[in-house]
């Protein structure tokens, strides 16, 4: 009964909350509007926006040294999570069956394990840093901890479910993922999408000034 609920209606409900919520958040950003810049530009804003969208994946030298831990942990977590989310065999099957209608090559089991380990190490380091460093401690809100906690639980249950091939664990994993989807649009997890706007806006403004942001 609960299994059916998790596998069926709750999945679609969470997906709907995620989709509608995310679109609403993006709409509320765009609705605020930006005034056109009347200062004659030195170069095109579009090229600047595009450049910044990609160049920010690589940190600046100085901050790469000072913020080494955050950056390394950030890369490990994001790359590991990306690999797990889109290339773990059960995810490929699930997405193909429920959303895309087609599949793609998945990670071999050993690569899945490595990705999971990297993602866990990254996430735990980021979380520890958040809890211990005076700057991140000051900045962090309950939202940051709920978001991190949920992602952690989803990853943990997912790994256990795959390792144990135990149906209740799979359901628990799906249930937690659904909670995460519902929570997503209300939280700073939204940076997954809004970073495109942030980098774009900044890149365009700086590009107009002739500066590689």
């Amino acid at each position: 009964m609960i299994g059916q609920l998790i596998d069926g209606p709750l999945w679609y409900f969470s997906l709907a909350v995620f989709g509608v919520g995310m679109l609403y958040r993006l709409y509320s950003i765009l609705r605020a509007g930006v005034k056109p810049d009347l200062a004659p530009p030195r170069a095109g804003g579009g090229a600047g926006a595009l450049r910044n969208l990609f160049s920010r994946f690589v940190p600046r030298r100085d901050v790469a040294t000072r913020g080494r831990l955050t950056l390394i942990a950030g890369y490990l977590f994001h790359l590991g999570l990306f690999a797990l989310l889109f290339f773990a065999q059960p995810h490929v099957d699930f997405l193909a069956e429920r959303i895309t209608g087609f599949g793609w090559p998945a990670l071999p089991y050993w690569a899945f394990i490595i990705s999971a380990e990297l993602a866990f190490v990254g996430l735990l380091l980021l979380w520890l840093h958040r809890l211990l460093h005076p700057v991140t401690r000051l900045l962090s809100s309950v939202d940051d901890h709920i978001g991190t906690g949920l992602v952690f639980l989803v990853m943990l249950s997912g790994c256990l479910a795959l390792a144990q091939a135990f149906e209740p664990l799979r359901l628990l994993h799906l249930f937690l993922a659904e909670l995460l989807l519902i929570y997503f649009p209300f939280s700073s997890l939204m940076h997954t999408f809004t970073f495109v706007f942030s980098r774009g806006y900044t890149g365009a403004m700086m590009g107009r000034k002739g500066v590689n942001a």
């Binding site: 765009l30 930006v34 100085d62 000072r66 955050t70 962090s140 940051d144 700073s188 942030s198």
Partner: protein, 428 residues
Amino acid sequence: MSHDFAKGVAALESQIDSRVAAYFSSCVHCGLCAEACLFYTETQDPRYTPIYKLEPMRRLWKEQHTFWGKFAIKLGLSKPLSDQDFADWEELVYDSCTLCGRCSMVCPVGNDITYMIRKEREGFAAAGYTPPGLQEATHRALTIGSPMGVTLKTLQAALRHVERNTGLSIPMDRQGADYMALFSSMEVVNFPEYIESVACIFDAARVSWTISSQAFEATNSGIQIGSREAAREIVGRVVDAAESLGVKYVISPECGHAYTAIRWEGPNLIGRPYKFEIIHILELLDQLQQEGRLKLSGLTETPLTFHDPCQIVRRGGVIEPPRDLLGKVASGFVEMADHGEMNWCCGGGGGVSANERAEGLRLKVFDRKRKQLEALGVKTLVTACANCRIVLEEGIEDRDMDVEVIGLTELVAEHLAAAPAASSTGSE
């Protein structure tokens, strides 16, 4: 100054545009921006984390633009922004931010934190929470025409000195000249040698130029304090003067904030493009040099380095001209490890140097520049902003360092190739 919380909130609210909304939505509270800000690196005080300086604006955005924010306020789970928040953050917003823009270069999600702090100041100014030093400077800029109280008479006295020293006559209110030059009060009062250098260079390069008696001040305290109305009024004077003289270009002086004010903010403040172009003095010198009109000779051999004024370089985009010019006049030019668009601020931009209350902190964060200079071991520091220059000189004195600061335009003027015979400037 009287406080008006409602006005402050309304002003702050009006500053929240798509960019601000995207930035707050994207912030993951990673703290990396702190590592780029000299106020944090030199004090290790987490309150000086750039994004933390935006807490009042972020809370207002959350209250008004997010579901949780509205919900939490309704349930009494979070407190709405209060007058006390303005009072508590005033020092963070003004004393510990030079609007240098370095944090905006490193945020992994791409937030332009500086853009937001500039906007946040609009709310603080409207609420009446601003440093007295900046209030006075803005008042003087509006009533006298200069944040330092420099009047036309003071300028004329400085120009007479220049004329005596150079034998040139400085053109004033010359209708139809190509270029109208602006100065910063700091240049008029503390570095008149800048004006002298400009006069000599323009004479040698046969530049048709003038100064306007109606608007010669380039700086804009309105922008530093965060008052759009004051900023618009100050920019408007320059625009009126330039358009009535019919010049093709207005020359922004070395001063960094003046450049941002007149070049990038100005048209947006008055709501239309200008009928003339803005050119920074370094861009013009570089252009004249490339066209062969500015002939330079000899090279300074002393090892020297360049301090990039944030508003000219990182926030202004004039990155290569100072380097081109230095390459033409100095053989011992070396770059600091972090330079160009990633330079470290002198500590006195964004109105901090006009804010006496912030002096102790400003001198403390000068340590960043001290470390850069000591790592390089160079004893001559060239810069291109009168404000940076005075702040650097004060820091150097405070730290008992043996470093000389010189202005780039003056250095260029010292290398002017001997002209056949001096004519009166403003010819052509």
